[in-house]
Amino acid sequence: MEATIAPQHDEHATTTGLDHRKMLMWAFLGSDCLFFGSLIATYLIYRGQSIRGPFPYEVFDIPYTSVSAFVLLMSSLTMVLALSAIQRGDERNLRIWLIATAILGSVFLGGQVYEFTLFVSEGVTVKTNLFGTTFFVLTGFHGAHVTVGVFMLFTLVGASFAGNVKQHQSINVELVGLYWHFVDIVWIVIFTVVYLVEAPAIEAAKAALGH
């Protein structure tokens, strides 16, 4: 992604005037919708079909997950502030906001890892039942996407320190930003259709236990 567009001749102009790489990224994100859509479809088709527990309402901690959802949302803010900075030529703030984004992303990942290990200790693994299977694969692949994103963020930070992300090269930040925001919007969907919808069941279970 470091390769800049060489000095402009007619042969490097594009038919639409749009950058090849940006077009590629949007096409890729459109295609990634189908990837996550299929995983989400699997999760929702199998929701409520587990033969045995533990069930979501027994292990989900909505307040906890809300915090990590909030963290990821804020990372989108820091990401767009990073882009804004480099578009103004502010390389220092670029790095600050990129590092902030990477940190927030890493916090999110840490939160996921913690949540997963907690679930495992409570008896939910990928083998246990349909819930475990579909939950871990869906959120696991989302987490893998976030991890790739964090790698790219740190790469950009390094490149910036090496003086290779200048104002006229802001496209590289923009491309990573698009990917990052996408990962965030996928989580918006997952948070809602996986976690939030279980809240009534969680409350009902608590009530049944006399809480």
Partner: protein, 101 residues
């Protein structure tokens, strides 16, 4: 430069971005609040869908700048999105234990 042109058009300022982030945070808070209101449980799903779609749209349009960029990008992305929604709907119908048992 072929990639500079899109940025000359309306460019939300940093404070605008912070404002949008604030809205996203508030909406998330509202969603969390809603699911704990037992009197809303019957309409919980549609409510959540509307709110989540709103958040989704705001991130895409503003943070991802799609509102201000070429419509071609929107076609590429929204095309994939619509196809996803179509396939999901069909799959839910096919696995619906109410109609197709």
């Amino acid at each position: 430069m072929s990639h500079a042109s899109e940025h000359d058009s309306s460019h939300p300022s940093p404070s605008r971005y912070v404002g949008i982030a604030l809205i996203l945070a508030i909406v998330t808070g509202v969603e969390v609040w809603i699911v704990y209101q037992s009197y809303l449980t019957d309409i919980m799903v549609p409510l959540l869908l509307v709110l989540s779609i709103g958040k989704f749209a705001m991130v895409v349009m503003y943070f991802m700048h799609l509102k201000f960029d070429s419509r071609l990008f929107a076609i590429l992305f929204v095309g994939g999105l619509l196809l996803t929604l179509g396939v999901l709907t069909a799959l839910f119908a096919l696995f619906s234990r109410v109609y197709f048992a």
